[in-house]
């Protein structure tokens, strides 16, 4: 499981890393172009670096499943900042991730993950939750 996640996020950070190298140079280039005629403004090159999140799921039964399957397409904030939802509401969400977006989560892990998420998310409303999501 974790192996799969690592591959995905490594792939992601390599891409970001490469973009980073080129974008530092390009940003200065874009700034130099800022004085071009107004109508031509949208033609200056733009390179940026997007922040990434290192937040993983809190320890507990099911954290492994969440870490390997719920950080592939979005960072943890999508999950941890939800309201307190029931297990069956989480089952519905997890199924949507599988059917609508292609999350590769085996069907026999849905219930365990839903139980874990409904527990940890409802315990979220504490100052400790203010870490990068």
């Amino acid at each position: 499981m974790n192996l799969k996640l690592r591959t995905f996020s490594e792939l992601l950070s390599t891409t970001i890393g490469l973009t980073l190298l080129s974008s530092v140079a390009l940003q200065s280039w874009a700034q130099n172009q800022a004085s071009t005629e107004k109508a031509d403004i949208p033609r200056a090159k733009v390179g940026v670096v997007l922040p990434s999140s290192a937040t993983t799921f809190p320890a507990g039964d099911g954290a492994d499943i969440a870490n390997s399957h719920c950080l592939i397409c979005h960072s943890a904030g999508m999950v941890l900042l939800q309201p307190a939802l029931s297990e069956s509401q989480w089952q519905t969400i997890i199924n949507k991730m599988r059917t609508a977006y292609g999350a590769p989560l085996p069907a026999d892990q849905i219930n365990a993950l839903a139980a874990y998420l409904s527990k940890i998310v409802s315990e979220q409303d504490a100052p400790a939750s203010a870490t990068t999501k």
């Binding site: 970001i16 974008s23 960072s75 999508m78 939802l85 509401q89 203010a130 990068t132 999501k133």
Partner: protein, 414 residues
């Protein structure tokens, strides 16, 4: 790797405060409708509402972090007190899919128009800037799920407060002019727009949204290359973004790169299955209501907000109180803004400030004098030019879309 530090646009906390001071932003923090716990976190007024205030996103100032990847950034509400247009660097950000290009060379970029057209086109930025009339429109861009965090019972999705909206002066070309150049086939029924973003797994559907051909050719829908007189920030869709005045932001495709003219109604996931609302007035149902007919979300509805009053603030009895805020009519202009100082028993009409067009925010202002000591509930309600008023009671639907109930703040008068 410390990515944020290599970002030229990033301001250190100290720099930000210094610059904010120069711009007069620091002084406005007191008018927040919730409490900022520290420089770096903010409590949105609902359960699990603590959020970081971040400055490490490119071309963005301080924003409320809802999700890092793909970015969901909310505009802190005090920004709306500062002017009728939302500055580009404070404009909210909302992406669905994680692969967002981080480098764009407008000299290489092409906008493709294909499908049921006489002549497929691949337009360069130069073509768009020089071969088509340039038009401008002031328009509110609001997420379908703006204010979702206030739904009762709560629903899943991005847990926004009221800052998933903004108003900008958009500059660009009419979608109609571009379609005419390509020559639309008589069999065409819809126009499907796609941006450069994509999912990380091939199974995730690409983000695409469609408009009917008539809507696409109404002369108002535009392809914007400017936002408030500047190129769009990358996170708001550089180099091109569809602008669909009066309609929810889900249609305003960012990094617009492909326009496909269809001869069948679009059946892609994001148009046909996502962003559906109950086909009821105000998209309002009860949580137990079943078998409701669902339709794609479409026109916006009127809203209004206080921008200079903090919930729970103490004011002096009989003291002149200048109250101000913003309103918008949704798919048409603001007819009037009504303010009540007694929980909705009596209403007074606010003075509307300059009109920037029917799709824009409109600032309003009213002077109140609260004669009696004690708690006062102030309410604000907009009525649009079609006679549609904000409802007193909030709507509910399972996706948390289209909230537009009357807003209120409580003041303690002594």
């Amino acid at each position: 790797m410390k990515r944020s530090n290599s970002n030229l646009y990033r301001l250190s906390r100290r720099n930000f405060v210094a610059q904010a001071g120069q711009l007069g932003i620091a002084g406005m923090l007191g008018s927040l409708s919730w409490t900022a716990r520290s420089d770096e976190s903010i409590d949105l007024p609902f359960w699990n509402g603590q959020r970081e205030l971040v400055t490490n996103f490119p071309q963005k100032g301080a924003m409320i972090l809802q999700r890092t990847q793909p970015a969901l950034l909310e505009t802190p509400f005090e920004v709306f007190d500062q002017g009728v247009f939302t500055p580009n660097d404070r404009f909210y950000v909302r992406w669905h899919l994680p692969n967002i290009p981080t480098f764009i060379d407008p000299d290489v970029f092409r906008l493709k128009i294909h499908g049921r057209v006489g002549k497929p086109l691949a337009l360069s930025m130069h073509d768009l800037l020089h071969d088509f009339p340039r038009v401008q429109i002031a328009a509110v861009n609001q997420c379908s799920g703006n204010s979702r965090g206030f739904f009762k019972p709560r629903v899943a999705g991005a847990q926004w407060s009221n800052g998933a909206m903004g108003n900008a002066l958009w500059g660009g070309v009419r979608l109609k002019d571009v379609l005419d150049r390509a020559g639309v086939d008589s069999a065409a029924v819809q126009v499907r727009c796609r941006g450069l973003d994509s999912g990380i797994l091939p199974a995730t559907p690409n983000f695409m949204k469609s408009l009917t051909l008539d809507h696409a050719r109404d002369g108002e829908v535009m392809i914007a290359y400017e936002m408030n007189g500047e190129p769009l920030p990358l996170l708001n869709g550089f180099p091109l973004r569809l602008v669909v005045p009066g309609w929810y932001a889900t249609y305003w495709v960012k990094m617009l790169a492909e326009i496909e003219v269809l001869d069948q109604p679009d059946d892609n996931y994001w148009t046909a299955k996502a962003y559906l609302i109950p086909d009821t007035p105000g998209a309002n149902i009860t949580p137990v209501q079943k078998d409701v007919k669902m339709v794609p979300i479409n026109r916006m509805v009127p809203r209004s907000f206080f921008t200079n009053l903090k919930d729970g603030a103490a004011v002096k009895r009989a003291q002149a109180l200048k109250v101000r805020g913003i309103a918008f009519g949704g798919d048409t202009g603001v007819d009037k803004v009504m303010v009540s100082a007694d929980a909705g028993h009596r209403w007074q009409e606010a003075r509307l400030e300059m009109d920037h067009g029917k799709y824009s925010f409109r600032r309003w202002e009213i002077a109140l004098r609260l004669a009696n000591a004690g708690p006062h509930k102030l309410m604000v309600k907009a009525v649009n030019n079609s006679g549609m008023a904000q409802p007193d009671d909030a709507n509910w639907n399972g996706s948390g879309f289209m909230r537009n109930a009357v807003e209120s703040v409580s003041l303690q008068v002594s």
